[in-house]
Amino acid sequence: MIRVVLPQHLRTLAKVGREIEVEVSGPVTQRSVLDALEATYPVLEGTLRDRQTKKRRAMVRFFACEEDWSNAELDEPLPEAVASGKEPLLVIGAMAGG
């Protein structure tokens, strides 16, 4: 299982706690994790990435193992620690005031 930590607004929207788990079959990449996340919680469609283009929303960031994966290739394998469930993929709302 892949661990994902959501920001507060999306926890409220999806009615989940701080950390959730999703099942990914095949390579563990940003694309496969986000696909699994949206399939499990359809209310999150469009909140992290554009529904049509799959482009990341400008003020959303993806961190893993203290690295910023936001601009990495979508099909690049995430760190083994994420794939093994040792570390979570962090979904972060960009620092932008408000």
């Binding site: 607004h9 469009g46 909140t47 400008a58 959303v60 960009a94």
Partner: protein, 371 residues
């Protein structure tokens, strides 16, 4: 009628304010969708317990919420506002072509007759319709693909479709307004549209009497007179008595004819309300005095309503969707400010009192009159 429910959208959530027919004591619930911008909340005239809310943030985009129990509980519904077909371009602030991009839903207008039918006005300007209670949305693309659309341009708040007015006598006749394009009317349920801006004069555009390009801030109609429309434009308060076919100015003795909201008394079709704002560069009331102006003659002659409103050091704004009237025997008038106050008058505007004083900036105010 037993009471009223005031639906308030703010920069940081929604609030539901309820009272009995006296409208003196209020129950305040919220914030709903805490921390999100709520541009608009509105109830279905066909089923008052069904409410819709537009919830969004720059971070996570657009969500539409629906309540079927008068705002006690909410569930997210559909939020896929995909333009139908090639999006084309409109004018950007610098006058260059810019592709249509969805930003948010500004205004939700439930059908007068069917609780499952609702319209949504969005930025960049387009009109969407749902016939399944908000679960799915289809664009009425005849508006966005109008031959004039390439000349539409955003106002300071974005290129938003912010006003949707249904003709209560003809479900296929709808008026909408866009900043900055103007008023459009459909007679066929949204398939085709015509600009309705004859008589508008805007010195901020190259052709002041152009067919489109006017920054209409709000239009309002009394349900008994679907041919009569009132308009608060960027500058100028206007009136049409031929279904938008032509407009004439009714600003009269207003201290400023700049402003955002305009509304009509529930029982007096010639009684209208505006909130004058100093100018387009000074978005606060003239002289620091918050005054609603009422005309009981359909315009031109206006009286200041000040009883209970701050008359010194007041520098708030009242946004375009932030005024509403109820249908109680003694008509109630409500408005919200960017300073977080929601004021109510239970006597057609003669006297006012705040329901709440310290909400986040108020974006919209609607009211339901409950049986």
């Amino acid at each position: 009628m037993s009471g009223v429910r005031v639906l308030v959208g703010t920069r940081k959530g929604a609030f539901v304010l309820t009272s009995d027919g006296k409208r003196q004591k209020w129950d305040v619930s919220g914030p709903h969708f805490a921390g999100w911008e709520v541009y608009h909340v509105k109830g279905s005239p066909a089923d008052p317990n069904r409410l819709f809310a537009s919830q969004s943030t720059s971070w996570f985009g657009q969500v539409i919420q629906r309540s079927d129990d008068g705002g006690k509980t909410w569930e997210p519904v559909g939020k896929d506002f995909a333009y139908d077909g090639p999006t084309g371009t409109h004018l950007w602030y610098d006058g260059t072509p810019h592709p249509w991009e969805f930003a948010r839903v500004w205004h939700l207008e439930p059908s007068l007759h069917d609780p499952d039918t609702i319209y949504a006005g969005v930025e960049d300007a387009a009109l969407f319709k749902s016939t399944d209670g908000g679960m799915s949305w289809q664009e009425l693309k005849g508006l966005r693909t109008h031959t004039s659309a390439g000349k539409w341009q955003p106002g300071a708040g974005g290129m938003c479709l912010h006003t949707i007015v249904e003709d209560p006598t003809d479900a296929k006749r709808i008026f909408i307004a866009i900043s900055s394009a103007g008023v459009f009317r459909t007679e066929d349920g949204g398939e085709t549209w015509e600009p309705m801006n004859n008589g508008l004069h805007s010195k901020e555009i190259p052709e002041p009497y152009a067919e489109v390009g006017h920054c209409v801030h709000r239009i309002a109609m009394h349900p008994s007179r679907p041919e009569t429309l009132f308009m608060q434009k960027h500058w100028d308060v206007m009136r049409s008595d031929d279904g938008g076919g032509s407009w004439r100015e009714i600003s009269g003795n207003l201290p400023s004819d700049f402003g955002f909201p305009i509304d009509v008394h529930a029982h007096e079709p010639e009684t209208i309300y505006v909130v004058p704002i100093t100018s387009d560069s000074e978005h606060y009331p003239p002289d620091g005095k918050l005054r609603v102006y009422r005309s009981r003659s359909g315009g031109n002659e206006w009286e200041a309503l000040t009883n209970g409103l701050p008359q010194e050091n007041c520098y708030v704004n009242v946004l375009r969707d932030a005024m509403a009237v109820d249908r109680m025997d003694s008509c109630g008038v409500y408005f919200g400010t960017t300073g977080g106050q929601v004021y109510a008058s239970a006597d057609s505007g003669d006297s006012w009192a705040p329901i709440v004083r310290d909400l986040p900036a108020v974006l919209s105010v609607e009211v339901q009159t409950l049986a």
